[in-house]
Symmetry: C2
Subunit: 277 residues, 2 copies
DNA sequence: GGCAGCGATACCCGGCCGGTATGGATACCG
DNA sequence: CGGTATCCATACCGGCCGGGTATCGCTGCC
């Protein structure tokens, strides 16, 4: 199985439409049809059911889609890491969610910079899906928040745990009540909705947001309420309040990296990070 | 980067000889040279340094070798799992080291067979490197022993922990002393040597063994001594003794599976396994 | 029933992969 | 010190395959 075949199959499986997939791949539709047919023939497995009107995935196709995405990510990662290893000046790329864990990050970078043998550290600030750059090799290490960021297939060390608070306008009806429970906020029409890992939004009435800047703007306008880790209390804007949500899941901040990583710099960074837990 | 290029590069990187690598790949040497040169050109990175007499890996080459092996394993796994998903009768393949953990395994398989919705379970008995079939998709789940089996990149649940004993002839000079320390046995000329993951043996004087049958035969002949998990006491042959080694690392038996696994059958098996810890 | 959308088929062309032959460099040996 | 064996690179050629265009056949839908 060649990566070209996997790229083609993943495109078709995601679009569920040969024409659009071909366009996305920058080739014509007939060679794509043929490539998929060849792949199915070589595997001896039917991956897609085509009624000449609608394309859908078989069970085997679902499996190959998942595996294929992982492989394509690994290939991209391999290329990036190989090039990075050839660069004479070694460096570490740290992925983190913009806005969140700013203090932990600052402390970590300061502490690491004082290490003997510290290398250049680049920051990769993400809006969401902070784990993705780790999987495709754009980052060497990431700060993630369980249970919101997926960590399967990654090595992790726990840095800390905290509860969550509901952030809202001081004038909000719930602002006076304390403590809150999840049931109090989960039905709010203005509860913020975050994108899923595929970029789509879950159904619901609340505001669809993509990053913390958007979110706080909407909260200040009274158009949104959000449940966030406790650190969000720090530097809260005028007119906003944070109310503890006692039964919200605990948020665990972890430092994560791809398995098999053997870089000295990464090991140092992780050691420093876990040192001041 | 195509998997063909990765296969070629991994072959050359492992053989460090274009001729032998080409032979192993079943192609002639010149196309292989060209393919590697093209790969280097496209990556913009020198992967191998060739003096027309000796080939060696650059730092970037080392990285790509490691990543490439993982990718090729993942590709093989994807093919196997896709085919398995197409088979109408689902089944689970469990990898385990032959001879070791026999009781745990028997209990586990019995308990799982009584589960509602249990699927057929196949056993894949390995001599060593039990984790490999997990990485290349020949197995869905494995029983591993930390710290001897690598578990990076796998999801694991701990099943149990035990100490280790030194197994030797009853006539051995150390047989009377109890307890032993690692220092007592680590210098023994007849201490058994196990293969590393690449199949080569570490240097040393002891007997080179590949599986437990060989090992016990050599121990009975007085040609070997081995440090093994405590379960090895059970059913020890006549004339052999097991002496506790107090400072040997604790052996943890874990059940491990590839991350992202979403099969119902696997989840059931893991639940059953952790249930009777 | 006509039409639009979509995948499959037919056929052609060019590039690339793989082959053989050979050159050039280096270590080894007499 | 020259000969030779070894090993990788280069040169060149042929066939296969991936990609293109044109077109057909099927299926919902107005």
């Amino acid at each position: 199985m060649e990566t070209r075949e996997l790229r083609y199959f993943v495109a078709v499986a995601e679009e569920l439409n040969f024409g659009r997939a071909a366009e996305r791949l920058g080739i014509a539709q007939p060679p794509l049809s043929r490539a998929i047919a060849q792949l199915e023939h070589r595997l001896g497995v039917e991956l897609l059911t085509r009624t000449s009107r609608r394309v859908s995935l078989t069970d085997a196709g679902e499996v190959l889609l998942e595996e294929g995405r992982a492989i394509l990510g690994a290939v991209a990662a391999a290329e990036r890491r190989t090039r990075a290893a050839a660069a004479d000046r070694p460096s570490l790329v740290v992925a983190a969610k913009a806005g969140s864990s700013g203090e932990v990050l600052a402390k970590l970078l300061d502490a690491y910079a004082n290490e003997p043998g510290a290398v250049t550290v680049e920051l990769l600030l993400c809006e969401s899906n902070t784990h993705v750059p780790l999987l495709d090799g754009r980052a060497d290490v990431a700060l993630l928040h369980e249970p919101y960021d997926p960590t399967t297939g990654l090595d992790v060390e726990v840095l800390g745990t905290e509860g969550q608070v509901a952030v809202m306008q001081a004038a909000h009806p719930l602002a006076g009540r304390s403590p809150l429970r999840m049931a109090d906020v989960s039905d709010l029409p203005e509860l913020a909705r975050w994108p899923r890992s595929d970029g789509t939004y879950p159904d619901g009435a609340g505001a669809a947001v993509r990053n913390l800047t958007q979110l706080f703007q909407l909260i200040e306008l009274g158009r949104a309420v959000a449940v966030l880790p406790e650190v969000a209390r720090n530097g809260l804007a005028e007119g906003l309040v944070a109310v503890p949500v006692v039964d919200a899941p605990q948020v665990t901040t972890v430092i994560a990296w791809p398995p098999h990583s053997r870089s000295r710099a990464l090991a140092d960074l992780v050691r420093v990070a876990t040192g001041f837990s």
